[in-house]
Symmetry: C2
Subunit: 345 residues, 2 copies
């Protein structure tokens, strides 16, 4: 704990920071008047306001929102629970959220579950203890306890990214099953027949699992089955995609198309092709997911699906701020996705 500011006359709380009472005393008014001036509430005489502001400036008074929130039951914190730090999807979503929250004076409290539902439960519990104005959580798959806590929480709850299951209040995202399905249809329509899959452990990423399911359905409807897959059971991205594709091709040299669970890995796969003389598209079709900038800036742009991550964050945050009340029935906003043709499939 630090020494209190250097001002002999100060009374201030034992905590070493000035309080409303200090400002009030210096301005010769009551606490509540200072409070009103600071919050711009209620009619205040211009002279009083000036005296108060002068006192505030002189002391360098900073309000204590903890006390304010306790007294008024309204915080400006928004709990944000994300799945992973591994790729820029995370940054894009948080960036979208932040771009809407910050101008409105709200602050995100961030937690990352690393795709662990039990960890998510812990994080949600400790966030709710801060009485956030609202919560934004990734995905729609939670433990029963998490679901119950969110259900009972005060403010609104947005479940983002995935709308394959029903949200409990607001869902913003798109169907990963449909995205996977359309990936398969697209590639089949282009004439590819011998499919491989490269991804992370699907048990740990429900969205990737949904895309996989959709893809499998799309393939089987066309009478095609997946030839083989290579799956990493540890977090990885570009380097992993490169290596896994190499492994997969070593086992199954006759594949004509490989679907990756995300762009990071697909870019790695593309690098493998470039390094080993395989011509993307003609020699082997590569298809990613997310439409990250890196994949689109490549000399051979990646074929992939654009997922509008920033938009998802923005829309979720905007809706939550717009309507502080929960709707009677859950609302689902489909932000859609689109196939990016690219040059690798």
């Amino acid at each position: 704990m630090r020494a209190p500011p250097d001002d002999r006359r100060r009374a201030a709380g034992r905590r070493g920071a000035y309080t409303l009472a200090d400002v009030a005393e210096r301005a010769g008014v009551s606490e509540i008047t200072v409070s009103r001036v600071l919050r711009g509430k209620g009619p205040i005489a211009e002279k009083t306001r000036e005296r108060v502001m002068a006192a505030v400036a002189h002391l360098g008074y900073m309000p204590n929102r903890i006390a304010g929130t306790l007294a008024s039951a309204g915080s400006n914190l928004i709990g944000v629970v994300l799945s992973s730090f591994t790729n820029n999807v995370f940054a894009d979503v948080l960036g979208g959220i932040h771009s809407v929250l910050a101008p409105a004076g709200y602050q995100p409290v961030v937690g990352v579950t690393d795709y662990d539902e039990v960890e998510e439960e812990r994080i949600v519990a400790s966030m709710l203890a801060w009485q956030p104005a609202a919560m934004i959580v990734s995905g729609v798959d939670h433990t029963p306890a998490t679901r119950l806590m969110l259900q009972r929480a005060r403010g609104r709850v947005a479940e983002i990214m995935d709308i394959d299951s029903a949200p409990l209040d607001l869902g913003v995202g798109f169907s990963h099953r449909a995205a996977g399905y359309d990936t398969a249809r697209h590639l089949v329509s282009r004439g590819y027949r011998r499919f491989g899959y490269v991804g992370l452990d699907r048990a740990r990423d429900p969205r990737a699992a949904h895309r996989y399911e959709g893809m499998m359905r799309g393939l089987s409807e066309a009478g095609i089955s997946l030839v083989s897959e290579a799956v990493a059971d540890f977090p990885t991205s570009t380097q992993g995609g490169r290596k896994l594709l190499a492994d997969l091709l070593a086992r199954e040299p006759t594949l004509d198309a490989v679907v990756f669970s995300n762009d990071d890995m697909a870019v790695g796969g593309l690098f493998h092709c470039l390094a080993s003389g395989i011509r993307p598209r003609e020699g082997l079709a590569l298809f990613g997911f997310n439409a990250l900038e890196i994949g689109q800036a490549l000399p051979i742009p990646l074929s992939t699906i654009r997922s509008r991550r920033g938009t998802i964050g923005q829309v979720a945050a905007a809706r939550i701020l717009e309507t502080p009340q929960r709707p009677i029935d859950p609302v689902v906003i489909d932000t859609g996705y689109e196939i990016v043709e690219g040059a690798t499939a």
Copy 2:
């Protein structure tokens, strides 16, 4: 505001959530006893503890940390102020911080300044209003008001990434001037002589500016001056790097080396070379900054500087938790950097 939980006997606060008093009543003990059980403080009879826990479980009671913090003056929030969402540097740093904070029960409140010092001032002020246990801010360049607020803040203050100026409490990072200087020396020692520079507006990114200064000094000590530079005045990354390098080479076709302000842009530059038949290294040396995974996974790995972003976040968080008191004299921890040889310079 939602309806209170469905339990006729509840007394609970007007806010619709159960309080310590509700639990206490149900367990037939006093509030403070419940509080002690929940925090694991003080000796508690096993029987009482069980009764309390049963009541907690029955009601689904969730503690209110706002009240707890106000009463005890100790929050578990850590303010984290970062500069930008544009690349994964952000995610790496926050990931490092989170990996240390989460197990210790702390929660990051995140703000992003977008390299705007005035915005930083606002963010710092509203974070301090939450009485965070500590603050972690990017860089050492702040407005006087920001500096004063941080100086007066209760907990510790870590200034991360850049140690080119003295921190006010704890600095964790490395010298960007030195990194820029070493970049120049390295390239000069490899025989390059006609230098170009591609980057973002340096006025908006103090760290990039420091690297640039260091590079210029390194060049001038070798009797070399920068031939030309291309600078974007808007946020961009891979695509921007690609385009800016094209522009630069159109003006100055005889360059033999180009330094980029970061890897994202350098990768874009490399893509330009690949697409237009310029051989990296022999035809044109490319040098980045950060050693992002993408640059290292390329068939032609990027020559760059490794910046240990995750480590910086981890170390800053760990130090802050370890020693809650500010030291008499500021402490600087140099996490260093290293030149990654790569294949482009």
